[in-house]
Subunit: 192 residues, 2 copies
DNA sequence: ATTACTTGTTCACTTAAGTTAAGAAATACG
DNA sequence: CGTATTTCTTAACTTAAGTGAACAAGTAAT
């Protein structure tokens, strides 16, 4: 399980055994049941999440119903905006499936970073990369129709469509569940 | 003009006079005319932009017409995704108005960063902050209708609506110019 | 000054998403 | 196992966005 983490890290920096041990000794791995909420609206938190196995999502409750805006699966990291801004969270984060997460605290990260400057470098590279990736995703979202977005998702993250309830997918695509259902029917119609 | 830059930087790190001089001596300020294209589709580039005055935008050309997805105004920074991924650009960047930009090269940044670790720290803080901000923007976009998005923009960046041509605003809001025009008429109707 | 181009609005029509409601299918749980 | 709940689909209707076209106003260019 830890190997997955170190494979990921190796894309950004090269760690010594001592450094790897330092991470392992922090004992940050957590096993969570499907449906577990790990961050609630209104809470303050300093925790970042790295998904080793499973899937977590960000969702809002607007006019009484859930709006899911993001999913994080294997080898993806999330530092919730509220951790950065140090304000109460506007949204919820919960497990879509049984999941194994690495949960790190920003205070602790600061400590690690001062001991091992490499981590700092990794964090910078990672957030620059995520910023760029998210920019592209946002641009694609803006420039395409719901149907195109769905087809695009089918290409890029086909697994998500299988693992995630469709009403959560719908809001992720910026539409209502009924529209997603209809849109799928429309696509099938076209194919035949 | 440089004061604006140092005011901005001071939000992240505290610079000494020597460090400030080092930046100034690099002579990175550029004055550009409205309409100037600073990055074209297909180009490779290592340049990041910081807007001191004016406004720049990202746009794509899809099926022959422009789709503007982002605007950057005073005190906002853009490192185009293609600089991070080191691949040819998928989009254009151009000046919406006569602008003064600080244009820095990533090779040069690396050099500065190694001389002055503070810059590295600033870059990390900045990209973490921008990532969080963009996540929130994306979430708001997904969870609201075109009309809500327009009203939201009116609250948050009223200046943009004045400075930017409406057909560019439209694609920024994810709709067609005609729809924006109609939507605005609808809002006026409601008010009266 | 005239022409050309850009920009914004309006209109009629088409297409697709939102809404409300009902029912079927799958899943969870006692 | 059966019941409750969640999830998904379908349908009829409403609302709003997309499309194509025409026109007016403003701007730039010769």
């Amino acid at each position: 399980m830890q190997d997955l983490l170190f494979d990921f890290i190796s894309k950004y920096v090269t760690l010594t055994e001592a450094e790897k041990n330092a991470i392992v000794s922090l004992d940050l791995f957590r096993t969570l049941k499907k449906g577990t909420t790990i961050l609630k609206k209104g809470q303050k938190s300093k925790d970042s999440y790295f998904v080793l196995e499973g899937c977590i999502r960000i969702y809002y409750i607007i006019d009484g119903d859930e709006k899911t805006t993001a999913f994080y699966t294997e080898m993806e990291a999330l530092t919730p905006p509220c951790v950065v801004s140090k304000t109460p969270s506007e949204y919820y984060v919960s497990c879509v499936e049984d999941s194994i997460l690495l949960i790190s605290n920003s205070d602790m990260e600061a400590e690690i970073n001062s001991k091992f400057p490499k981590f700092d470098l990794m964090c910078r590279k990672l957030s620059e990369e995520l910023l760029a990736k998210q920019r592209i995703d946002f641009d694609e979202f803006k420039t395409s129709s719901p149907e195109q977005r769905y087809l695009n998702l089918l290409q890029k993250r086909p697994d998500l469509i299988q693992r995630v309830p469709q009403h959560q997918l719908a809001s992720y695509l910026g539409i209502k569940p009924q529209s997603l259902s209809r849109l799928r029917a429309r696509i099938l119609e076209k194919k035949s």
